[in-house]
Structure formats: C-alpha cells, structure tokens
Point group: C2
C-alpha cells in the first residue's frame, strides 16, 4: 500500500521533546514514511521510487517534484486530510489485553479481594484459544483510541502474537513469569522465538513482580538479562503493601533489589512505579530506565499517584499504559493522558506541573523508547508508518488555538478518524479493517464470559 495524505497538519516531534506542526503532505510507501513536506521539492529518488512501480519511463522527475505530479504517482490511496492532524500513534506501554473477559466483573472491591477472589480463580479457567479472541477485542479498542502498539504481559503468548499479527497490530510482549506459572526455559524460548515471529511481534525479558516471584526465579531472570545483555521490565512498586513487604523480605525496595541483582544493567524499566523513593528514582535515572505510569488503574484500584513529575525532573524516560481492562477498565489513551497530568497536579497541589506537551511525548515517543520501537516513535522519513488522523472538526477540538493542549485536555477517542499500523489502515471512520469479523470477536468474548463464572 502506498498512501498519500495531503492537506494535512502533521505533528513532528523535536529532539528536545517539544512538538511542531507542519502543514503539508505525508507519503507512505509500503510500511514506511517516505516523504513529509509541502509537496514541492520532493527528493527525486522518492519520486522515482514511487513512480517506478507504475511506469517509471513516463516520469519526468523534474516535473514530478512538484505538487501536481504527486497525483500522478503510484498511490493505492490518496487521502484528503481536510486540515486534520496526522500524528504518531499512541504506544500503550503496559497492559494485559486479554483481561477484557474480566471487564466490569469485579469493580468497586478492595484490591486484595479483587485479585485473589475475583481475578485469579477466573483466570485459572481461561483456555488457550480464549486469549486469541480476548486480545483481538482489546486490539479493536486500541484502534479506536489511536493506539498503534501495545506492551502486553499475559498468558498464552503465542495466541496473543497470532491475534495481533492476524489483525496487523504491533505487539511487544514480556513475560508474566512467577511462582504460579511459567519457567525460565519458557521465558528464554519465547524471548528468542517471538522476537523472530513477525515484523509486528517483539519480546522483552521480564517477570510478574517481586511479591509473586521467588529469589531463585528472579536470579534466573537476572542470568538471562546478563546472557543476552537485554532490557527487563516488571511490575514495580504498584502498591504500598508491595514495597513494604519487599523491604521486610529483602531490606530494600523492589527497584533496589532488581538493581542489586543486575536485572537493570541493560535497561528496561517498571510498570506503575507509584511508591518510588529518591533512591529508586536515582536508579532509574542512572540506568536510563523507563517508568510506565498507569494512572487509570492506580486511581480505580486506589493504589496511589505515581511521582511522574519528580521522575520527569530527573530526566527519566516516561511512558503511559492503560493496564489491563479488569483494573482500568477501558483502553483509552486520551483518558490516561488527562489522568497523568491532572493526578500529577493534584499530587503536587500545583496546576503548573506536567505540561500537556510532556504528556503527549510520554504517550508517543516515550512509550516507543521503552518498548524498543524506535523505528515508529515519531513521524519522520524512514520511520514505520504507525500513525493516526485526528479530526479537528469536532466541538471538543474547537477553537483551534493550541492543538497539542487540545489533544491532552479536551481530546477524545472520538476524534480518532483513522489508525494506520505499519502502513496499513486498520480503522477508519468508525470501521475496522482487521481481517477478523468484529461481530464474531464480540460473540466469542461473550461466550467466554458466559462459560467462566
């Protein structure tokens, strides 16, 4: 697919993490952005490349470099953006996608009761094929919210990868290895195989959490980190109880424990990072780790408010995750972005902390960095075309005074007109184009819910 977007506002990410909006065109050849500009002065090799596929001989490259000639190139789609915004897709940097089957099954309960009486017994009834349909359901929701990649931790990871690849969705997985499930051999095998399974699939070393995992298993993960000189992600300091118990067991916080064991020697990071102290933040800064914040889940489960502004001040890379649909319960980056900044403001009791642009960076490039997706972190020539179109002609985006602030403070998934992953349009004008039938996905999910009491 070669796609030309014209008459667009294009959100460019600057080196200093700020944004710039360019008016013009964005061209996608196959799965890659090949041109961004005003449609004039297009590099000749781009023109030649796009025309070669049609009728190279006919192309006068000099002429073709103008706006007129753009229409003459070999496009599968030419999309008039009508002044709307093309921006990088959101990166959902922490989730448990297949937990869609637990949505609205156990809300308004204390965390421990929720986890031990509602979640674990039902998860035990989950079958392998279930995770295909439940992940597919989550992917649909991601697409409606402009999310183009997810960082998933759940069971049946081959099925998760298959559901994502079948639909064209980009997925990074990590292991939920703990005392009750998984082995180090499985972790290593999946790390090698799912990194090599498809261009849309990748895998990062990890395990569930300190409080669910023995010292021996953690030492095994540390050995894999050292063997592959690879980054590692894990649930880290989500609740006060978790950090208190870790200090009782080991005398240090989870972050300090992981650091001492060498698990953070090659990067990676943590999910949640709510109950961080100064020493934890220093470790994250020192190793260039990514802190993934999950404000919707942390608020709904009353876990606390993460010190995102304190981490930002230390230069720690920050990313945003929805967490799973059992705890959030929705998979909506617009909701999370508003929560990141507003909870940070409440925590500090200062309305000036966590500027909207910082949050937008977290939701896009910050997440991509943590997920190892540097080839689709922003809009630039040579990057993979993971991008979305935002409808600015809706009341919540008017007046158009400051588009990036509008996105974070008044934006909504309803503004997502189109979601493209790896050069393919998977969602456009409320319709899905994902190789699977949405009605079947809904039906399967409801059947699973009916079966698992």
């Amino acid at each position: 697919m070669n796609t030309r977007f014209y008459n667009a506002k294009i959100l460019l990410t600057r080196e200093d993490k700020s944004f710039e909006i360019l008016e013009g065109e964005l061209w996608v050849k196959g799965n890659t952005i090949c041109y961004i500009g005003d449609g004039r002065n297009v590099p000749l090799e781009v023109v030649a490349d796009l025309s070669a596929q049609k009728a190279a001989a006919e192309t006068n490259a000099q002429e073709a470099a103008g706006n007129f000639a753009a229409r003459e190139l070999n496009w599968d789609r030419e999309i008039d953006a009508e002044g709307n915004l093309i921006m990088p897709g959101f990166k959902n940097a922490h989730t448990h996608s297949a937990m869609t089957f637990l949505r609205s099954s156990a809300d308004d309960l204390p965390l421990q009761e929720w986890l031990y009486e509602q979640v674990f017994p039902r998860e035990a009834q989950l079958q392998e094929e279930d995770s295909y349909w439940l992940t597919a359901l989550a992917n649909l929701e991601y697409l409606t919210s402009g999310i183009t990649a997810q960082f998933d931790m759940y069971f049946f990871q081959d099925m998760v990868a298959k559901a994502c690849v079948d639909m064209g969705f980009r997925v990074v997985q990590t292991s939920g290895l703990n005392n009750f499930g998984g082995t180090l051999e499985e972790l290593e095998e999946k790390y090698l195989r799912l990194n090599d399974y498809d261009e849309l699939s990748s895998y990062i070393l990890g395990f569930h959490a300190e409080y669910t995992t023995s010292k021996e298993l953690m030492e095994g993960v540390a050995a894999l980190v050292q063997k592959y000189k690879a980054p590692m992600f894990v649930h880290n300091s989500e609740t006060k109880l978790e950090t208190d118990e870790c200090r009782q067991r080991y005398g240090v916080s989870p972050t300090q424990l992981f650091d001492t064991m060498g698990m953070y020697d090659f990067g990676g990071g943590g999910y949640h990072c709510v109950w961080f102290d100064e020493a934890d933040m220093d470790i994250f800064a020192k190793h260039g780790l990514t802190a993934v914040t999950n404000p919707g889940s942390n608020a709904k489960l009353a876990s606390g408010i993460a010190p995102v502004d304190e981490m930002r001040k230390r230069g720690i890379n920050l990313a945003i995750g929805t967490d799973g649909p059992a705890s959030n319960n929705c998979l909506d980056m617009f909701k999370e972005m508003f929560l990141v900044t507003s909870l940070a403001k409440l925590r500090a009791m200062d309305a000036s902390v966590m500027d909207a642009n910082e949050v937008l960076y977290m939701a896009t490039a910050g997440g991509a960095k943590g997920m190892g997706l540097l080839d689709c972190d922003c809009l630039a020539v040579g990057k993979k075309a993971d991008l979305i179109m935002i409808d600015l002609q809706q009341p919540n985006m008017q007046p158009i005074r400051n588009i990036t602030k509008n996105l974070v403070y008044s934006g909504s998934k309803q503004n997502v007109k189109m979601t493209m992953i790896n050069g393919k349009i998977l969602y456009e004008n409320q319709k899905f184009h994902v190789n699977l039938d949405t009605a079947e996905i809904y039906q399967r999910a409801n059947e699973i819910v009916a079966r698992i009491k």
Copy 2:
C-alpha cells in the same frame, strides 16, 4: 414528533437510586415519554392518543394493544435500537459554557495566575453576541457526550438562553453576580424573565462566590431567597485559599456563612464543595442541598479532591458538573464520571468506595434534582423525553456483563449514538440537527479567539 424506539434495552431508575434494565420499547409523543414496556398490553388511552392523530376511527383499540399494532400508529420515526441502551440524558450540573473561547489558552498555570492574568483580562473583551456562538459550541460538545441539560453561570444570559432555545438545548441558568459585575435588580429581573422565556429555559437564584462578593450584595441575594422562597446556588469551597480567607473575614466557612444568612433556607447548593468540613456537610444534609462536584476541573487546577463519599454517606444529593472549558477543558460526562469514582477511591485509599451505580445516579437523577428538572430526571411515562442511546456494539462496551459499570468505567462519548432533548433528536450518528450550521459555529468561535488576544 412521535418516536418509537423498539428492540431496546431501557435503563430505569429505581426509588432506592439503583438501576434496572428492561428489554422492550420506549415511545415518545411530542416531548413526553408515553409508554415503556414490552410493546404488549399498551394502555388503550396511549394507543388511542397516538392513533387519533392519524385515523382514530380505523383503530381497533383492542388489536392495537399488541406489538403488531405499534407499527400502525402515527410515528414520525421508528428506530430499531438493535439491542442498544436507551438511558436518561446526563445533566451537567455546573458549567460556564461560553468559556469555550478560552480552551487551551492558559493551561498548566497556577490557579491565581490563570484566573487573574489569563481569564479575567480576556473575559473583559467578550461581546454580547460572542456568547451566543460560544455557548452554541459548548452545546454541540454536550450533545456528543449525551448531556441533555446544562446548569450555566456566565455573562450575557439572554444570549445564552437564546442559543440554547434556538438549538433545542435545555438550560438552567444562575447568576454570576459579584462585586465586578451584575446588580441585584438584574438578578431578580432575569430570575423572573428567564424562568418564563421558554420551556427549555429556567433560572435559579445565585451569585458567584463569597470571595468575590461583598456582604451587602450577599445580603441582597439572601433577601431575594426569602422573598421568593427559592433555592440558591453558588461556588462554594472550591479552593483551600477561598475557605481560609472566608474564615479570616467572617470566622466561619462559606457554607456556614450562607446558612447563617438564610441563603440555604429553601434549598439549592454549591459548586465544587472540595474543602468541606463536617459542619458544612451537616448543613447540606439538613437543608437537602445539592453538592455539585467538578472533578476534572478540581484536578486540573490542583484545587483538591471533594469528599463525595463522605457526603454520600450523609445522604446529601450529589451531582456532577464539567465546569467551564477553560478549566477542564472538555465537556464530557464520561470523563467526569470516571474521575468522580476514581478520585474518591484515591482520597479514601479504598477501591470499594463510590460504586459506579452511585456515580451514574449522580450524573442523571442527582443532577436533575439539583437543577429543578424533576420532569426529565429519569425514563418513565409522563417524563419529558431527554434521553440518549448508547451503542453497546463497540469494543469498550464488550463483553456485555454489567452495563452500568461499563458505562462509568469504560464508557466513552463515542458510545453516544443519539441524543434527544424534549422529544427532538439533536444528535445522531455523529451528525447534529440543531438549526445552526456547525461549520459556522466553529468559524465564529475561531474569529472570536483571533480577536481576543
């Protein structure tokens, strides 16, 4: 307009504030709900009434009481709800709609700087006609979020009423009277006139806030409350500074001051109610007042988290407002509902407080009660048809295990398929039917923004 919804799930509000979902039909005659049920055993007078308009003589009332006959009645529209949910429209119980012109103009600033350096100087440049278009813009956004009535406090209130009535939007206004604008005479004149202007317009006594209003003016408001034996609303205890300064000036909190002055003798309530103490809550409970919470605004401006669960336990009527688009910045009841419950959970550090159903009640019947809209607070025969249709066939509402929890925790304005006010469909499948051209509304708003630096 007579409208028949069939094949619907219908959300009924019980006396004990819980909800029940009925599968069946909902009929609207003119602006009023005339039937809810399974389409059989329709009361004969309803059938006769609907058929009378067409060809009364032909109707065999006995036969007409069946489902078949429903199709034979005099409908302007028959809408197959396809299993989707019909529910009462949301009531936005506190806003400053025309502040759309300040959206994204002054974010990420400390509250005082925001108010005195950004908001007030720009408001001073606002012209009367501006408020027509700026209110219209807000009304569009309300419709997309399923909001069917707003409780507005702003300038140029005739224009506000006109914009709403022109569009078919239900509006309750109160006065923003303070030391810098408005007089008691104006307040009384508007109270009398805008309550009598149109069936969609009503007016409740009120003023801006203690910290902006002299004792003399407040005494004047109190006199009007006594004269008309009428409820009164006011900004109340939004920030800690406000309550601290009130205690310095008067030795008591704003609530205690208003109570002592007799302003709460006939009901009403307060907006924000963040910095309430036990005595304040006791006063609200004693007088049957309504506390309107504005969690998006309170979070974004770092004002604090209102004690909604504590108020709920005292039986205080609770309602939800978006506040104005300069402070929130969006006008989305789904966002506010999630914030009400999740911020209450964080405040209590207990995931079990503020059950989703409580929040749904606040956003519908609770708001209606505070706004004096008891004729459109829920779905029942004889109530005004202010209702919305929620699309359940979207991924964030699947699986369908618990619809009311889905609404509060994973619902989105994108699920709003249709918004009907006073029997008229004003928004359906992303399209507006509001007598005004949306493109002109956007253009006017942008022109105003360009003019007011």
